[in-house]
Symmetry: C2
DNA sequence: ACAGTGACTACACACGTGTGTAGCGTCTTG
DNA sequence: CAAGACGCTACACACGTGTGTAGTCACTGT
């Protein structure tokens, strides 16, 4: 279930630097994180960072690439049917991301990690394709549009981690927090916020606003 | 419907600086934004920024305070019944935030704006209180927990603005993008992602995982 | 044994940036 | 009319940080 378990060809200083960078970038953001700080955490000199990654931007791209690799690995696990539950795979993936979750959140917000997001949208799209067959009505928007917004919503908790933890009264990183979040998500995902009548009403209002 | 319409006591240089700062912070982030850049946009010297706000951090806090003020104003509008639709008020508020949306997203991600988030959770909680009466079953989590996660999810689109726009194929700032988003949200909010059976199933799996 | 390659360090430079200080013009107030 | 307050500018300083350069050490292949 866990996507980690260190790469072969890891343990090297290069890998240690990358891991340290992911932690620093995640916790402090790209700008605020310093090469010297990362080097110290990794237990190497600052020059070595440059030696391996060329520049700070290069280091960032390496981190993004590593994240994408991890996501891809997780994708495969989910697809090959080892997934724990058959519910929304995005939520599953999100929960299983573990140590990379925070970096993912940062990367998404700071612009990079576009590939990762798109990857998750695709996953969500496939899941929607199955779910759509159980639907009685026909959706009036693209499947991709729904997958995109749904993915964004699924990622919201990770991105707004701090605020959600505060609101829940428990740190999401603790088992209790994780459990509470799961229960909450199940409740939300299994209860529509709008009845079909309300939905129709709002939709009609929308059509009146913008004719065409 | 629009929350803007400049404050009385605005038009002053202080207000121009604050507005410029909100734009810069929103577009480049707090760290990357520079006092000199903000001053230039506002058409003043960099020293004046310091004169009015003391420090960069002070400027940030002023921006947060202004945002909170705008949100409060919007709150009142929604509460006093002038709201366009009776659907999820968070979604409405989010849509009506207009020019402050991007700053809100940044502030949330970068840690400040805690008050604003909590404010929105409260709003959502009140809305949930009404919605809960229509529910047949009894939720197994706190109302506040549901409000918190729901708020985070509602904010996801604003926070991940760039990625959602890319996925939708339209910039969310355009009328077309806004309309498509609204339609998508209506569809998502009116269709549960989990059936009650699936929900029960997942919930049971959860209970098995962590006894207690 | 020897050159070559790559991991790694120490040190210095250039630059952007937040902040501090001194000063100028103008407007209000007693 | 004098005097302080306030909005505002220009300039200089200190510091952190990314980056560049030179050099050391260990290992490998011929």
């Amino acid at each position: 279930m866990n996507a980690s378990g260190p790469d072969p060809e890891d343990l090297t200083a290069r890998a240690r630097i990358r891991d340290a960078a992911m932690r620093h970038f995640a916790e402090q953001g790209f700008e605020r994180a310093t090469i010297r700080g990362i080097a110290e955490t990794a237990g190497v000199s600052s020059g070595l960072v440059r030696h391996h990654f060329g520049s700070k931007q290069g280091l960032r791209e390496a981190c993004d690439a590593h994240l994408a690799k991890m996501i891809r690995r997780l994708n495969d696990e989910v697809r090959s049917g080892h997934a724990l539950d058959k519910a929304n795979p995005v939520a599953t993936a999100n929960a299983a991301m573990g140590p990379y979750q925070r970096y993912l959140a940062r990367a998404l917000v700071e612009g990079s990690a576009e590939t990762v997001f798109d990857q998750m949208v695709e996953l969500s799209e496939e899941w929607l394709a199955e779910a759509d067959e159980k639907r009685s009505d026909t959706p009036d928007v693209d499947r991709k549009a729904r997958a995109t917004v749904g993915t964004a919503m699924a990622l919201a908790v990770a991105v707004l981690h701090k605020h959600v933890s505060r609101g829940l009264g428990v740190d999401l990183n603790t088992p209790e927090g994780d459990l509470l979040l799961a229960r909450t998500l199940i409740d939300i995902y299994s209860h529509p916020m709008l009845s079909v009548e309300e939905a129709a009403e709002v939709r009609a209002a929308l059509d009146n606003l913008s004719p065409g």
